[in-house]
C-alpha cells in the first residue's frame, strides 16, 4: 500500500535522475512511524529534485516504483541494538540488513528489503539505493514516537539538503560503506 505525496512517481521514470524518497512504517505504531514522518515533513515543501512517497505498509507493488526511479532513499525504522535514535546510512546491497521480523506491524510479512531481494532474485537492475535506518525504541500500536527518535527525525529533515546532494554524487564516500551516527553524533550525514 502506498500513499503518494508530492510529485507523482511517474515523473521519475521519465526523467530518471531524480531522487525518490520512500518513507516506510506504520504511522500509528510509535517509532515505527519514523520513516513515514520524515517523508511527511519533507514533502510539505516543494523540492524540484525529489519525489516523496509514503509507504506505510510496503507491498509487492513497490518493485515497480523502485525500478522506475533514478536514485532511491528508503527511510525506515531499524532494530540493531544501538541506542534509540541512532541513524544508519547503508548502501544497498547490504548483508547486514535483514527483513523485519514478522510482527504486528507488517502485512503478509512483506517490506522494502523483501522487495529489494525479490528484484535481485529476478535479475532486475535496480537504481542506486541507500537505506536510512532510524533505530527504534518504542514500538507499540498507538504509542507516540520516543524523544530520541523524534530528535533524529528532526535532524534528518534539517540535514536533508546535504544528504540529497551527497546522494546525487555517485562518487560520494557515503556510497562506499555503511555508516552509523549515534544520537550524540551531530555529523550526520557525513561528508
Amino acid at each position: 500500500m502506498a500513499e503518494r505525496l508530492g510529485n507523482p512517481t511517474g515523473e521519475l521514470s521519465r526523467e530518471g535522475k531524480r531522487l525518490l524518497v520512500l518513507g516506510c512504517g506504520n504511522p500509528l505504531a510509535g517509532d515505527d512511524s519514523a520513516g513515514a514522518e520524515v517523508v511527511r515533513r519533507l514533502s510539505s515543501s516543494e523540492n524540484p529534485d525529489c519525489n516523496f512517497l509514503a509507504v506505510p505498509f510496503p507491498g509487492i507493488e513497490l518493485l515497480d516504483v523502485l525500478l522506475g526511479a533514478g536514485t532511491v532513499l528508503i527511510v525506515d525504522a531499524v532494530a540493531s541494538g544501538a541506542p534509540p535514535g541512532t541513524l544508519h546510512l547503508i548502501p544497498w546491497p547490504a548483508s547486514s540488513v535483514e527483513p523485519r521480523a514478522v510482527s504486528t506491524l507488517s502485512s503478509h510479512g512483506w517490506g522494502p528489503i523483501e522487495t529489494l531481494k525479490l528484484a535481485a532474485a529476478l535479475g532486475k537492475t535496480l537504481p542506486p539505493v541507500m537505506i536510512l535506518g532510524i533505530e527504534i525504541g518504542e514500538l507499540h500500536l498507538g504509542a507516540l514516537r520516543s524523544e530520541a527518535v523524534e530528535a533524529s527525525v528532526a535532524r534528518v529533515v534539517e540535514r536533508f539538503p546535504i544528504l540529497c546532494s551527497l546522494l546525487a554524487n555517485p562518487h560520494a564516500a557515503l556510497w562506499d560503506r555503511a555508516r552509523t551516527f549515534l544520537p550524540e553524533d551531530f555529523s550526520f550525514p557525513g561528508e
Partner: protein
C-alpha cells in the same frame, strides 16, 4: 518445540505468509492428538462498534479499511446490505460494474496468494524471493497478473487499495468506457496467463487429504457467485441471507480474538472459499474457465484443501474472462447512482470475498444512522474448520519429526489464505448479577 516423554507439544509462534497475527498450538499424549488451537492474538478491531452512529453513506468507506487485500468485498457487502435496508435497487449497468470490481479484487488477491504466498510451499521454497531465484518467469507472470488486477481496481475504484468510488446506490464516479478498454490487451494477456497458471499449479505434488467438508457459498441462478444472492451448502442449506444468523452461529473461544462459526443446529464447522464456491457452482463458470477446469479432471481440487491453489487458479481464469466480457460491452450509465429516500430499516447481504463468503447486516434509524452492525468475515467462518482439518491431518503425520509436522500444519493453514486481521472481533459481554 518440546518433547516431554510420551507427550509432545508443537508450537508455531507466528504463522508466516498469512495476513495478520496467529500461532498454532498442538498437544499430543501417547501419540494421540489431545489439543489443537489456532491462537489468534491479533488485537480485535471493533469495527462493528465504531460504525454505530455513522451515516449509512460513510459505511462503505469505513468497512473498506478492514482489509488491504479484499477491501472491495467489505465495501460491497456493506453497500448491498444497506441497499437492502433502504429498498434500493441500482440498474443493470451498475450491477455489471460491481461485478467488474469483484473481478479486479479476485484477480489481485488470487494472483498474490497463488504466486507469492502458497506456491513456495509446494515447490520447497521458504518464500517467493527464493522461488524467484529459480522460477523467475513464473514469478514475473504472477506479478503481472496481480498488477493488472490493481490497475483495473484503480480505474474503477479511484485507487488500487481501499477504493473510494463505490457508494450506496451506485458509484460516486463511473469509469469512462475508453479508460476501461485501454486494459483490453492486458486482460487478454491475463486470461492466457491465468490458464498457464492453472497448468503450472496442477503439476505440484499435494498431500493426499480430503476431509468431509460442508461447503457453503453464495449462489446465483445464472452467475458464478460474487455479489448476490442466496446462501447454499453441500448439505442442503438454501436460504436467503436474512436467515444467515439463524442458520450459522458465531462463538467466542478463549484462545482466539476471531470468533468461530458453526452451524447453529448441530454445532459443526463448515468451509467457505474457492473450494466451496467451485464445488457448488462449477456449472456457472464462464466457458473458458470451465473448459480449462474440465481439462484437468484428474486433478480437480475436490475436497482437498491443499488443492485450494487449483481452485484459485480456475477462479483466476474466470475473473479475467468475466472482466474482459464486461469491458467489451460496457456502456457508461446515464446516472452513476440512484436516488435514496432515507428511512429506518434493516438489511443484510452475503457476498464472496476472495477468501469466501462475507456477511454484513445493518440496522438504520430514520435519519439513516447505523444503530447496529454485524460483520462475519470468511476467515472467522473457516477458523473452526481449520482446527478440525488439523485434528484430521495430525494422526497421519504425528510420527514425523516436529519440524515437519509444524511445516505441514502451517502449509495447511496457508491454503486457506487466512486474513486474520479481518476476522478479529470480540463478542459483547453482558453480566447479569442477581
Amino acid at each position: 518445540m518440546a518433547n516431554e516423554g510420551a507427550g509432545k507439544t508443537i508450537k508455531v509462534e507466528y504463522l508466516t505468509r498469512v495476513e495478520g497475527e496467529g500461532g498454532l498450538f498442538i498437544r499430543t499424549e501417547n501419540g494421540n492428538v489431545r489439543d489443537v488451537k489456532l491462537n489468534i492474538f491479533e488485537p480485535p478491531r471493533f469495527f462493528e462498534g465504531f460504525l454505530r452512529g455513522r451515516h449509512f453513506q460513510e459505511v462503505p468507506d469505513i468497512t473498506a479499511r478492514i482489509c488491504g487485500i479484499c477491501p472491495v468485498a467489505y465495501q460491497m457487502s456493506a453497500v448491498h446490505a444497506l441497499e437492502a435496508a433502504l429498498g434500493v435497487t441500482p440498474g443493470p449497468e451498475i450491477r455489471l460494474l460491481r461485478r467488474l470490481l469483484y473481478c479486479a479484487e479476485w484477480i489481485e488477491s488470487h494472483a498474490l496468494h497463488i504466486y507469492m504466498l502458497n506456491a513456495p510451499d509446494y515447490l520447497g521454497y521458504e518464500s517467493v524471493v527464493a522461488l524467484a531465484g529459480e522460477h523467475p518467469q513464473e514469478v514475473e507472470r504472477g506479478l503481472r497478473l496481480k498488477k493488472i488486477g490493481n490497475q483495473l481496481l484503480e480505474i474503477l475504484g479511484g485507487r488500487a487499495t481501499h477504493p473510494v468510488s463505490a457508494c450506496v446506490g451506485g458509484f460516486y464516479k463511473v469509469p469512462r468506457a475508453r479508460e476501461l478498454r485501454k486494459l483490453r490487451d492486458d486482460l487478454l494477456w491475463g486470461l492466457e496467463a491465468a490458464k498457464q497458471t492453472l497448468a503450472w499449479v496442477v503439476t505440484f505434488k499435494f498431500p493426499d487429504f480430503s476431509p468431509n467438508y460442508e461447503f457453503v457459498s453464495v449462489s446465483h441462478p445464472d452467475e458464478y457467485p460474487m455479489n448476490e444472492r442466496r446462501v447454499i451448502s453441500s448439505d442442503g442449506i438454501d436460504i436467503d441471507p436474512v436467515d444467515f444468523e439463524r442458520v450459522f452461529l458465531e462463538e467466542h473461544v478463549e484462545h482466539s480474538t476471531a470468533l468461530h462459526s458453526v452451524r447453529a443446529d448441530r454445532a459443526t464447522s463448515y468451509l467457505v472459499g474457492p473450494l466451496a464456491r467451485l464445488a457448488l457452482n462449477f456449472e456457472k463458470l464462464l466457458p473458458q474457465a470451465k473448459a480449462a477446469a474440465r481439462a484437468i479432471v484428474a486433478t480437480q481440487p475436490g475436497r482437498n484443501p491443499f488443492r485450494g491453489i487449483v481452485a484459485r487458479a480456475i477462479e483466476l481464469i474466470h475473473a479475467y474472462e468475466e472482466a474482459l466480457a464486461i469491458i467489451e460491452t460496457y456502456q457508461e450509465p446515464a446516472t452513476s447512482r440512484v436516488e435514496i429516500k432515507v428511512h429506518a430499516g434493516e438489511g443484510c447481504a452475503a457476498t464472496e470475498a476472495p477468501r469466501g463468503l462475507l456477511y454484513h447486516r445493518y440496522r438504520l434509524n430514520d435519519r439513516g444512522l447505523v444503530e447496529a452492525a454485524r460483520i462475519i468475515p470468511p476467515t472467522a467462518q473457516n477458523m473452526r474448520r481449520m482446527e478440525d482439518d488439523l485434528r484430521e491431518l495430525l494422526p497421519g503425520i504425528i510420527a514425523r519429526p516436529d519440524a515437519e509436522i509444524a511445516q505441514t500444519c502451517e502449509n495447511l493453514i496457508r491454503t486457506y489464505d487466512p486474513c486474520i486481521s479481518c476476522s478479529t472481533h470480540f463478542l459483547k459481554l453482558r453480566i447479569e448479577r442477581g
